[in-house]
Symmetry: C4
Amino acid sequence: MASQNNRQRLRDINNTGFGPNSGVEGGRLINTDGSTNLTKTGIPIWERTSVYHTLLRMKRSHFLIFIFIAYTSVNLFFALIYFATGVEHLIGADTSPTYFGKFLEAFFFSSQTLTTVGYGRVAPSGILTNVIASAESLAGILIFALMTGLIYGRFARPRAYLLFSPNIIIAPFKDGKALMLRTATYKNNHLTDVEAQLTLAMHVQEQGKTVTRFYPLKMEFAKINSLALSWTMVHPIDEESPLYNFTKEDVEESKMEVIVIVKAFDDHFSNIVQQRTSYTYKQVIYGAKFLPMFERAYDGSHTILELDKINAHEMVELPEQVLA
Amino acid sequence: MASQNNRQRLRDINNTGFGPNSGVEGGRLINTDGSTNLTKTGIPIWERTSVYHTLLRMKRSHFLIFIFIAYTSVNLFFALIYFATGVEHLIGADTSPTYFGKFLEAFFFSSQTLTTVGYGRVAPSGILTNVIASAESLAGILIFALMTGLIYGRFARPRAYLLFSPNIIIAPFKDGKALMLRTATYKNNHLTDVEAQLTLAMHVQEQGKTVTRFYPLKMEFAKINSLALSWTMVHPIDEESPLYNFTKEDVEESKMEVIVIVKAFDDHFSNIVQQRTSYTYKQVIYGAKFLPMFERAYDGSHTILELDKINAHEMVELPEQVLA
Amino acid sequence: MASQNNRQRLRDINNTGFGPNSGVEGGRLINTDGSTNLTKTGIPIWERTSVYHTLLRMKRSHFLIFIFIAYTSVNLFFALIYFATGVEHLIGADTSPTYFGKFLEAFFFSSQTLTTVGYGRVAPSGILTNVIASAESLAGILIFALMTGLIYGRFARPRAYLLFSPNIIIAPFKDGKALMLRTATYKNNHLTDVEAQLTLAMHVQEQGKTVTRFYPLKMEFAKINSLALSWTMVHPIDEESPLYNFTKEDVEESKMEVIVIVKAFDDHFSNIVQQRTSYTYKQVIYGAKFLPMFERAYDGSHTILELDKINAHEMVELPEQVLA
Amino acid sequence: MASQNNRQRLRDINNTGFGPNSGVEGGRLINTDGSTNLTKTGIPIWERTSVYHTLLRMKRSHFLIFIFIAYTSVNLFFALIYFATGVEHLIGADTSPTYFGKFLEAFFFSSQTLTTVGYGRVAPSGILTNVIASAESLAGILIFALMTGLIYGRFARPRAYLLFSPNIIIAPFKDGKALMLRTATYKNNHLTDVEAQLTLAMHVQEQGKTVTRFYPLKMEFAKINSLALSWTMVHPIDEESPLYNFTKEDVEESKMEVIVIVKAFDDHFSNIVQQRTSYTYKQVIYGAKFLPMFERAYDGSHTILELDKINAHEMVELPEQVLA
């Protein structure tokens, strides 16, 4: 097969952080959201999990539920202690005859102490209860210090807010064709010094076993000064390309995956931001070109970027491959 | 037109993040404050807006109004719940006969709970009211955690604090002339490793339609070690310049725009800071030179930088262009 | 000795930050955790200690103990002042006849003020006591502001979370042999643009006294794009290597130490992270090769990284050295 | 004068951020603490002052005084409002017959509201007083959010903690001599990738007026991998040096100033840190060499860095200058 010859002519790279033996069937290396398709084992889960990373990455709704559960648990914990040591030490508490009523008083006193709202209608008396209340208010302050940090960490976390086209397209380009994908920032952020890196992973047969090979994909422009509108990344499929002379069948057979890393400077965070994504062979469209996704405003005063057109394309004829 | 010839001789760049088709009449690409003159559409506003970016960029007075409104709204929300579930559960509240009086008691109790001040003259009783108060004090703590983060984020946000001269001037320079603009830091910050990038955008006629072309403008010094006083950025208009042989009419016809990006290291934030601005052809002064903006103190012990002279210039004769 | 000849042929480097006279017997330069094996003297301890650095580096359990002690101390301090100025000014306090009982009331009031929980069952009266309580609540807020910052600083501190193989191995490599060590991230973080630097320190006899010489160790790959799985760092022991022709005895005699610095970009912190470690001659295994530490999942959908196999190796025959 | 000839032979640099006309008599450009010896005028002080920068740079004692004054002022402000709107609305307040007593009650209630301690012995009643108290507790929370941010900003601010030798020495070096200064970190921080930049400023007579010229001083090593012990920066005074053939009188006449910028990576802040300093001609010692400032511990287990020896030197004979 001609394509194989070309591929073997090119040096593959083995400094991608993935090994050649990781060849898996159907499993991708990088997920669409940029995370690695990987599980770690061998050490306990609390040692191999960064709680901070996890809480920062968590969806907002999950994070709120987490806070609510944590708050209620600590509340319950202290309420049980007050209950156990005697609700009669909580001066001002309703003298409920039932255990449930007593526990409720303990619970509400606990929550007033934890949040330091401390109305004082119910107040601790006696050494033990006072010590517990003192400890609980300290715990409350520390927990909410943690919350403050986490909430700040979540919204201040530098992110690129890049929208990628759901598909990669193989489009006509100059005298040949090129692999193209498109990105744009979808929030009111502004990126400068934007660099992209495309890496091709292919699972190929070598001496009877499946190995994974990695190739850098050269881009027409690997860096742009400023990402104001959209950016179409272009990898020309020429003699230099590991995809040169590849047919659609070759692509599918090799279970091709294109890993995209974009790094940029966000002038609002004043920080480097990075976003990753990955495309598998199932996301490739053969013979298409992207349609413009911005236009001038009616009054000509500014430009409109239409984010819903990030994947807008029309089908076109691909040129014959010169070498076959 | 000679100028056109020279311009076409030079390679324009198309990695600016703006497209060649974004040609708009009268609309600038970058606003004076460095933001992009752009609107995004196609996805809902809450998805294409970074609340954090917006709250950080907001004017201080607007931010304070935002906080006040947010505080009052949450207060009102909980006050309505207390009111609906019965003010009689708020022990100690004035037994006002009017609905308004009752609502006010609920409102003030709510604010004492939200801020965790909890005087306790009014205190919750009963399961429902206690649960609501418990939820409100949690909400209060989370909201103020957010505020703490936002306030910190606002004042700790690395900024360059650069003052740019309101005009670009075309000044005599060596045997020819040069495009010049001047900048200085206007706060007590100190920048080192300061780099600038000047990009020229021109709207030109090509094959009957208006296209936008971008050219880098070479600077005499594109980097300075330290920005202690002022920095006059100089683009010599020589054979290498896309502005070579341009007349004032050429400049106006092309609706020239000069985009300025300055990046530096601020040793107080210990961070890279960046500031952008842009000049349109209307801000160009032909035949002028900047006057000094610093002088020694009377006692010779230090230097005085006069920030109100950032644009100080005097009109001068421009040399004949050697090549025409 | 042939090895000596080769070593002297190579230029040693003296920009490592360590001096040639620091030759110590048995003492390593860098500890396994990356800290420098160094004591500073000559200025008072409070000037040469960064409290912030120390509190950030402290083990979590120690940090919690530190907070508890600090809280109790400040509490006690203010309790003593209330006690000294008269517990009768604390309205509502139990009128205990004993000093201890009075002090306890002062202590609990103090803790309620410090945490701003302020139940109000006990409240200050009189100018002096009110002023003290006002000062204590201010102190409380400042102290907990500090705590908030510290807690945030601790969990938001960018860290590489790298696990290093406990041993360095001398393995067969191509036609010769190589020095190898292995690393992997052990948390759910993802590093890109990972760079490593290996420096060899040897304590050698020169003109009768022991001096320390430093040599950079060239790596097969000193940079990888992404650290998804594991990374085996390889220093080929060829003619270019300062270890060329070294025997096990040479290594031990020179009290060899290999200093490892890894720098990477963590896309979650959006920051550069760095980790250091060091290996002494006692950690070298001669004639071994690392075994794979990852495998595909049973269902082929993802890869499993087995962290407990970071040091997994099997003994192998080393090739004869070509030059001797 | 031979020295002049050499100086004029070298290209001076004019990208230092200082102008050639800033020549001042006796006034240095950079102060010892790295700040610029500069005053800015022309815009109002509140526009040319970064409050954040100022509060971060302030001495700790001044910062604490600032917080105390701010707290007391806000307290007084609200106390006056409560006093003006009637202390009788503060239920539970001591009914003092004097204005001073009434004001004190208002003041203490104000402080309990501002810190949200809210004992509740005194509580607001009536619409107006409740609204004021509600506003004050909001103000309190915002002010303490600011404090939290500032306190965090102060101790988390990346700093290099470099100690510089108070003197520059002219020492024998190889066959000639060199200008040397020494630095070390004085806290338990560790710097890697340390870069230094030495710039020489000289005030010279040219065509009858004093102008300031800047020259880079080449260093033997301008970058070190790691600053574990001390670093002696060495500028060899050879034919390439702008100081070549300079006599002590030349140095004094030119009011020489050496500006030092050090940049490094601190692995604890995971950030670039920078520190500047400057030496004037009065700080130069002719004919000396630095003495070692570290030694091995008695038990040989680690190295001791003696920070009080940062400037330790002994006088030595300087070699005859070859060219004169």
